[in-house]
């Protein structure tokens, strides 16, 4: 009965969920912290054994990165000159909000994490969450001091993306496997393994150009993407505050301002 009810009245249940997550955030935080410390300790011991090879690897990587830095510098100046020519208005990045993962869904069909930052820190619904090199997911619920991030691998996750090389648009759809699928690729699009995927920014959910992952397999039109971010053991995520209004169902879709959206907006948005 509750299950059916939950499907019907999503707003009420969302609020209940947020309240509980909020109330228990300090408790979860307190338990998660020592566990994280233990995990870090174990990793440090493991690292000791690979210091030499790691050092070697880093030196090589450093060489390579220095070259890239050179390239990036050149491109940056070129880019800014071209922007000047076009009078381009850059999208302002307000900053990052870093949160620690305090709970992850222990379920066979759920892919989300709870982080210890909320509206107090400026987190808003719909913002992108990234970890390491790529996107992790988007903020699905926000409480005062905790927020839930829906991972890109979750069944309900849909993210507008674009193939970096061909600029073909698609939707990255999670299906609870470790590699989400690409949906709605144009028929003529040619995808090959190793193609880079970034967010397209369409729909205004995410800012364009955030790295998502690489194409891992192309099989009979079924394209799977390996996310850059290590989703299996997230410890910290950064919520990206791009100053875009998060567009998500049931939380005030900005388009019909005069009608339903406007009336619903205050009661859905204000905590």
């Amino acid at each position: 009965m509750l299950v059916v009810l939950g499907k019907a009245d999503i707003l009420l249940f969302d609020r209940a969920r947020t309240t509980v997550s909020d109330a228990l955030a300090p408790v979860l935080d307190a338990v998660a912290q020592p566990l994280g410390t233990v995990a870090a300790g174990v990793r440090r011991v493991e690292d000791l054994f690979s210091v030499y090879s790691e050092n070697q690897r880093l030196r090589e990587e450093n060489q390579r990165l220095l070259q890239w830095q050179e390239v990036a510098r050149r491109l940056e100046t070129e880019n800014s000159e071209l922007k000047n020519l076009l009078h381009f208005e850059p999208q302002d990045v307000h900053g990052y909000i870093t949160g620690r993962v305090i709970a992850n869904s222990g379920g066979a069909f759920l892919r989300n994490v709870l982080v210890d930052v909320g509206s107090r820190e400026g987190v808003e619904r719909g913002q992108a969450a990234i970890a390491g090199e790529g996107i992790v997911g988007r903020v699905a619920e926000v409480g005062t001091r905790a927020a839930r991030v829906l991972l890109v691998t979750d069944l309900n996750s849909r993210i507008p993306v674009v193939l970096d090389s061909s600029r073909d648009r698609a939707v990255l759809a999670g299906d609870n496997t470790t590699r989400p699928r690409l949906l709605y690729l144009p028929g003529k699009a040619t995808v090959k393994v190793g193609d880079r995927i970034v967010t397209s920014g369409s729909g205004g959910i995410f800012p364009p150009g955030l790295p998502v992952g690489v194409v891992a397999s192309v099989d009979n039109g079924l394209v799977r993407v390996e996310p850059y971010a290590e989703l299996s053991h997230l410890e910290y995520v950064r919520i990206v505050d791009f100053g875009l209004s998060g567009v998500l169902p049931q939380s005030a879709i900005p388009m019909p301002k005069a009608t339903k959206g406007a009336r619903r907006a205050p009661d859905a948005e204000t905590p």
Binding site: V3, L5, F13, R17, L28, L114, L150, E230, S232, H233
Partner: protein
């Protein structure tokens, strides 16, 4: 008369703690499920600790883990997990009803029998959960994670069970 009253009174004093213990351990299992362990891929197949707790208490002290507590534990789990509300409650309540109905099979038997019984329950719960979640989302989900989770839950059973038995012994000693 007065002599026989005394133990009862004593029992009453420590009774609240004892009576809350099964519920408390079940709630603890809820937290154990959601706490990030930072093991790669572990979150997906975290053992259903709560199911172990519900199974254990349904066999040994069903009176101390009432339906309300089972429901609340499931609800809390769903809230923290971000799962559709009520699914865990439903699974746990049905498990409780099933086990309480059959507890005669397990009470007084050795650990192997109890564990074997749990294998059956874990399998049934996995199938049921997979079905209901598939219906909820309106599509066929990959059953493998559910299977892995059930296997891991069964493997974790002795450990969780050990702690629950310890807790129960403490309960008996105090009572």
């Amino acid at each position: 008369m007065r002599e026989s009253m005394k133990p009862v009174l004593f029992q009453r004093d420590t009774g609240l703690f004892n009576r809350l213990m099964p519920t408390a351990t079940t709630i603890l299992c809820v937290f154990a499920t959601v706490i990030p362990i930072h093991l790669p891929g572990f979150a997906v197949v975290t053992p259903a600790f709560v199911l172990v707790a519900v199974y254990h208490w349904s066999i040994y002290r069903p009176d101390l883990l009432p339906f309300v507590a089972t429901f609340a534990a499931g609800l809390l789990l769903d809230l923290l997990n971000g799962a559709p509300l009520g699914i865990s409650s439903l699974v746990l309540l049905l498990s409780r009803a099933l086990v309480v109905g059959q507890r005669g099979l397990f009470v007084g038997h050795g650990f192997t029998v109890v564990w074997a019984g749990f294998v059956g329950l874990a399998a049934a719960a996995a199938v049921f959960e997979w079905t209901i979640v598939s219906v909820f989302y309106g599509l066929l989900l990959d059953p493998r994670p559910f299977l892995f989770q059930a296997v891991l839950t069964v493997s974790a059973f002795p450990v969780v069970s050990y702690f629950l038995v310890r807790a129960q012994r403490g309960l008996l000693m105090r009572a």
